[in-house]
């Protein structure tokens, strides 16, 4: 229970269905130098909803594990010129790992969350997109496998966001109209956002921006904050067309830009590849999604694994997750991996 409306309604639905439910909120952040996190207010909201539902509520301190498994790698990735997704790493290492283990140790049969996705339990477990296409969160859950899905319930995945809010309002839950949180939970606009956060932990370096002929066309203040495919802050070429970041070399302090770059493939780091059930074999077809609400791209999986797109796509920044869906069952996640 994050203190948001989705997890509030997830708890309500499980309670209404007659399960023995207990709510848990994780304390993951709240470091003194980056205070201003709304976590105490969110915990209060989650606790109050639990009280309204008549279920016990616990607050678990997982700040150490979160720091080691999510925040430190996030910082290190930027230092290496990679673009991590910390929410995915939190799901991988904290919510569906440590918290799931704790739930099992405490005798619970399942962990329910407010994610907009579905677990189908007919036969092997399938992970499916949520019913509301604008809110689908299967992408950030794409690392889950049979072992986790056997013990995960996603009650709001069959509902639209509007239905979720309506349900919360009917129950008089204080989170019914609460806006969705958009930010990474440990980054705050008021503290200088991502640049401020990283700037307090890394030396950020100025870099030259060069075009594909090698001519210097500008500079950026922090090469560690630049992402492949980025358009923001990069300006236009002399022909008036938009420019995109094509390559980033953190060590050489150089950013290469070009017009409308595209790639045919993205290699996945094999250590990061997970499958919901059966692994794809070389030559298998899939549908790739490379960002939380990104465009879908038909592809073939080559040995590596390397995802080979049917049509040229924008470059995928190293560190980004590529989620793969089943062409024969397009709502079903097949697996995922992180761009190398």
């Amino acid at each position: 229970m994050s203190g948001g409306v989705d997890s509030s309604v997830a708890a309500a639905l499980m309670t209404e269905a007659g399960h023995d439910v207990e709510g848990a909120t994780l304390k993951l952040w709240g470091g003194p130098s980056d205070s201003g996190c709304c976590s105490v207010a969110d915990v209060d909201d989650a606790r109050r909803v639990a009280q309204q539902l008549g279920i016990p509520h616990h607050v678990f301190n997982m700040t150490d594990h979160f720091a080691t498994a999510v925040v430190d790698p996030y910082v290190a990735a930027h230092a290496a010129g990679r673009t991590p997704n910390p929410c995915i790493e939190c799901n991988r290492h904290v919510k569906f790992d440590r918290l799931l283990d704790r739930a099992t140790r405490l005798g619970f049969d399942a962990l329910a969350t407010g994610h907009h996705a579905r677990v189908d339990r007919a036969g092997t477990y399938r992970l499916l997109r949520g019913a509301d296409p604008l809110k689908d969160q299967s992408y950030v859950l794409s690392m889950l496998g049979q072992h986790q899905l056997a013990r995960v319930v996603l009650p709001v995945g069959t509902m639209t966001k509007d239905d979720v809010r309506a349900h919360a309002a009917r129950l008089g839950l204080r989170t019914a109209a609460k806006p969705d949180s958009q930010d990474v939970c440990f980054i705050h606009a008021g503290d200088g956002g991502r640049e401020g956060f990283l700037g307090r932990r890394l030396d950020l370096h100025r870099a030259d921006v060069v075009d594909q002929s090698g001519d210097t066309v500008g500079s950026v203040d922090a090469v560690e904050l630049v992402t492949i495919g980025q358009r923001r802050g990069i300006g236009h070429g002399p022909d008036g067309r938009r420019r995109y970041v094509v390559a980033v070399d953190v060590t050489a302090r150089r950013v290469v830009v070009g017009g409308d770059p595209s790639v045919d493939t993205v290699a996945l780091d094999p250590v990061t590849v997970t499958w919901v059930d059966r692994p794809l074999a070389p030559g298998d077809r899939a549908i790739a999604q490379v960002s939380a609400h990104g465009r879908l791209a038909g592809c073939t999986v080559d040995p590596g694994p390397v995802v080979r797109f049917d049509h040229p796509q924008r470059p995928v920044a190293p560190g980004q997750t590529v989620a793969l869906y089943d062409p024969a069952d397009p709502d079903a996640v097949v697996g995922a991996g992180i761009a190398a």
Binding site: V40, H58, V59, F60, N61
Partner: protein, 375 residues
Amino acid sequence: MGRLSTYLDHAATTPVRPEVVEAMAPFAADRFGNASGGHRLARDARTALEDARDVVAAALAADPSDVVFTSGGTEADNLAVLGPLGAGPTTIVTSAVEHPAVLEPARAAARLGFAHVEAPVDAAGAVDVDRLAGLLDDDVAVVSVMLANNEVGTVQPLDQVVDVVRRLAPRAVVHTDAVQAAAWLDVARLAAGADLVSVSAHKIGGPKGAGALVARVPIRPMVHGGGQERERRSGTHDVAGAVGLATALVCAAADREADADRVRALRDRLADGLLAVGGVVESAPRDRVLPGHCHLQFSGVNQEELLVLIDRDGVCAAAGSACASGALEPSHVLLAMGVADPTTAVRFTLGHTTTDADVDRALAVVPAAVVRLRG
């Protein structure tokens, strides 16, 4: 709740004594006057307040004019740390194991230009008097060392602290947070040498929201207004609370010796039974902690998980301190004591209402939970 629980968290709060409820009741009924007024209803409230003040003063061997009623131990601690500060000395020295109600005002003062230094403790949690002495000089304004620690229960060498402060920091005042100690120790005698002494009603069978600071030195107020408590703490008096505190202090003192012996024996039985599980250690030696404290470290067990499991069977205990969100924080007390992994610690605290049945129930529940979590 109540008798259906096995309540072993007396350090957090205690059941309200029936005598206290009875003594407080009239002030929620027809004795509702504002003690600051002039008419007969006000005078009646005022009399009750001053009677309570006399009782509190006698219980703490203080002069009634030195008793300042507050909203509890936290306010009393804040007033003790901040009240003596002025244009003179600028350093606040505390032990490293003080309650946040002492540490946080000290830190707040440090952000405003004062200095705050912490004296280390030994492995049992007692302040190292020699190291403390090394921190003392002419620029020390306040030295705050609790009479007994609330988490582990360690009784502090307050008389030695007073001694070094008088010798080495002559401009400093000595404060002792006696909030936890008041349940078990003779605060009047042990804190006689301190300039400022904090107590809290709800730790000794009184109501929440009432406490007092014995202030034998001048202090500036934190709460300004009508000038009550001789300008030291403004606000309409909580007469019921003051009466509750006074009654609780009297009851606690009357029962103290007999209760201490009885509870110590219960605590020893609980501790021995839990130590027998194996891989369990007491955080401090029994002869150095309060009679009701049983603070243990369970290797291979996460404190949050153990507390959830035993709570299911009605056993109420605690661990470390909770932060504002309600999550447990690694205990600063255990870290100051040099404990490598504070996340295995659980505190059981017994009180004047604890019985053999409570210990039996705890011994039936806790070992099984420990074994289960160790997998």
